[in-house]
């Protein structure tokens, strides 16, 4: 039972890890990414459609990443180029994805809300799970050891300094936002063609926000963030396991309390009651060269 629980923890953490690492790039570069949820959702949709068309989960997940990048480009246009408020633009992007996906389902498959089921031999079995942990390592090396990782951190902490060093801040931010779209799209893909068998309406159900919470919990660093995703994934796995199970008598266990735990913990962490977590200094402020 414990082994099963751990295996299911690893599985349900996968989309969170992809999305949270995506969020890390954009937030470390100084662009708050509430839109993660929408990018994930469109990614899940794109991956399902892509797999149905190409019959290959790999090409399908490429489509999912493409869909995420597309939405990220729209977000970048407003948040970076047009200097819209990042929270407002992010909220709008989420709404857009929530509305666009059933709308497109209707056009493509003439059913509201979900795509047709994807045959099991065309879905991923375990690949995204391993891929996500490889990605954690890649991100760790990237942020720590490469110049572009340093640029991303500077774009979020001291954009003026980066600008003075001759690097275009908004280019770095664009790159970071597009990467975050690709990874959030991959997170969505691992929902629709790895964990389940089709796309369904609002299938992310707040996982983008949960990834954001994990990012805060992990202090915007790759390895701690991935561990936070595992914790949240564990909560989700326990909750799935306990659904409908009765303990000592007739009353089923209220899973709601396990459900809200990750959110509660995030608030406590952010408030400094449990450790301390500080956002990149320039996160949320548009950069404009003098």
């Amino acid at each position: 039972m414990l082994a099963q629980l751990l295996a299911s923890t690893l599985r349900v953490s996968t989309p969170l890890i992809f999305a949270a690492l995506g969020g890390m790039f954009s937030e470390r570069a100084g662009v708050v990414n509430i839109a993660l949820e929408g990018m994930m959702l469109l990614g899940a949709f794109g991956a399902a459609v892509g797999t149905l068309v190409t019959h290959s989960p790999w090409l399908g997940s490429a489509c999912g990443m493409g869909a995420g990048i597309l939405l990220a480009a729209l977000y970048g246009l407003f948040a970076i180029r047009l200097r819209a408020n990042q929270i407002v633009a992010g909220t709008a992007i989420n709404m857009l994805a929530l509305g666009l996906t059933p709308f497109l389902c209707k056009i493509l498959y003439d059913v509201t809300g979900s795509t047709p089921p994807i045959p099991i031999d065309q879905r991923f079995r375990t690949a995204p799970l391993y891929l996500s942990w490889v990605l954690v390592l890649v991100c760790w090396v990237w942020m720590k050891r490469t110049p572009s990782g340093l640029w991303i951190s500077f774009a979020g902490e001291h954009p003026e300094a980066l600008n003075a060093a001759g690097i275009r801040v908004n280019r770095v931010r664009w790159l970071a936002v597009l990467i975050s779209g690709a990874l959030a799209g991959m997170g969505g893909a691992s929902l629709s063609i790895f964990l389940s068998s089709s796309f369904s309406r609002n299938m992310t159900a707040g996982r983008g926000f949960m990834a954001l919470a994990a990012l805060i919990f992990g202090k915007w660093k790759p390895v701690p963030t991935a561990i936070a995703c595992l914790l949240f994934g564990f909560a989700e796995a326990v909750q799935i396991r306990l659904q409908g199970v009765s303990l000592l008598g007739s009353k089923p266990i209220p899973v709601q309390f396990i459900q809200i735990l990750p959110y509660l913990v995030t608030i406590l962490v952010l408030a400094g009651f449990v450790g301390h977590s500080r956002a990149p200094k320039a996160a949320g402020t548009p950069f404009q060269r003098e």
Binding site: V32, I34, F78, R81, L82, R83, A84, N85, I87, V88, A89, T91, A92, I93, N94, M95, L96, L98, G99, L100, T101, P102, F103, K106, I107, T112, R168, N170, R171, G206, F209, L212, A213, I216, K251, P254, Q256, F257, Q259, I260, Y263, L264, T266, I267, L270, A271, G272, F273, A279, Q288, R289
Partner: protein, 352 residues
């Protein structure tokens, strides 16, 4: 003039883009527009339903706006309205013997109080612990959803229904529905919302508390220098914002359903952000914007069976596009820049 023109242009741009989407879907945009118009204003009942959706949007729009004037982003109206509605339903179900006029007053106060508490939490966390209200309110939305569904499923479950909802409230709690809308549940909550808008205007622009709220929102250091306790003001502003959102429960529970239904709100809290933004955080503007979004919400409801390819989700797409076009501060200055002749040396990288 520009103040009025910009939101109108933004709405026009958003609607035009949204209708262009329907054209791609293979429907005539004109046809879709006519369905929207007929769905929202076609009959007394349709208009009543539009007003029914407008009411919660006025509350959430005001909620976001009050917080915004204090320099805070209230993404949490969704959670605040959920706990507000639940509180009204719990009071009504537990003390079901209470009769009018006392009963609805008690329930309204319960909704107000619950929303206020749910707003106070992120306000306090921001003011005293320095943690950002955006993340906290998002987290509190999920916590509110979890807790309220726990209450509706376990503590106060409606024994006569398979749906996740609470026991019905006592008959003394139901508030008056206006008869002229052909049975649409337009209740006393609508005048209450308009009254709230008027009170918010008086508060923000005619009282010293309102001045302090706006001062903190405009410049915290300046407000501090003037001796204003910015933390205290922020907590108060978030309490007000929460209370306003909590009042959404009045129209839903006392004026319509007679109970708390899990998931009754089609993201009124998030649409409230759009309402406040479009209404430029002014009460009068919020009333107008709430009516527009209420009409969009009602109008698109008929799309599912009136057209072949367009679904009611178009309302979300339209709303998103309107928010985006209003939010793009740079869009307007960029359009102005474009009209000026471009100077070659700076053309490559003015803002890149």
């Amino acid at each position: 003039m520009r103040k009025l023109l910009q939101p109108i242009l933004a709405v026009a741009l958003g609607l035009a883009l949204g209708l262009a989407v329907t054209w791609i879907a293979g429907e005539s945009p004109w046809h879709v527009l006519k369905i929207l118009e007929k769905g929202a204003f076609g009959s007394g009942y349709d208009f009543g339903m539009t007003l029914f959706y407008t009411t919660p949007l006025i509350f959430t729009g005001l909620s976001v706006a009050v917080a915004f004037h204090a320099g805070l982003f209230n993404i949490g109206a969704e959670g605040q309205l959920t706990v507000g509605a639940l509180a009204a339903a719990v009071v009504g179900a537990v003390w079901s013997g209470l009769s009018a006029p006392l009963a609805p007053v008690v329930a309204v106060l319960a909704a107000l109080l619950a929303g206020t508490i749910w707003g106070a939490i992120p306000g306090w966390l921001r003011a005293r612990r320095g943690s950002h209200e955006v993340i906290n309110t998002i987290m509190l939305n999920f916590i509110a959803a979890g807790l309220t569904s726990y209450v509706a499923l376990y503590l106060l479950k409606n024994p006569d229904s398979q749906n996740p909802e609470t026991r019905p409230i006592g008959p003394g709690y139901l508030i008056h529905q206006f008869g002229i809308f052909g049975g649409a549940p337009v209740s006393a909550a609508l005048p209450l919302a308009i009254l709230a808008a008027a009170l918010v205007w008086v508060l923000l622009w005619r009282t010293s508390l309102g001045f302090e709220i706006r001062a903190v929102g405009q410049s915290e250091p300046a407000a501090r220098a003037a001796g204003i306790d910015a933390g205290r003001i922020r907590i108060i502003a978030m309490c007000l914002a929460g209370g306003l959102a909590g009042l959404v429960g009045v129209g839903e529970v006392l004026g319509n359903a007679g109970k708390f239904k899990v998931g009754f709100s089609p993201e009124f809290g998030f649409i409230g952000i759009a309402v406040a933004l479009l209404g430029r955080n002014q009460p009068a503007g919020i009333l107008a914007a709430a009516l527009l979004f209420g009409a969009l919400h009602k109008g698109t409801a008929d799309l599912d069976f009136e057209t072949e390819h367009v679904t009611r989700e178009l309302s979300l797409i339209l709303q998103a596009l309107v928010i985006l076009s209003v939010s793009a501060d740079g869009l307007w200055s960029w359009m102005k820049e474009r009209r000026r002749p471009v100077i070659p040396e700076t053309a490559g990288g003015v803002t890149c």
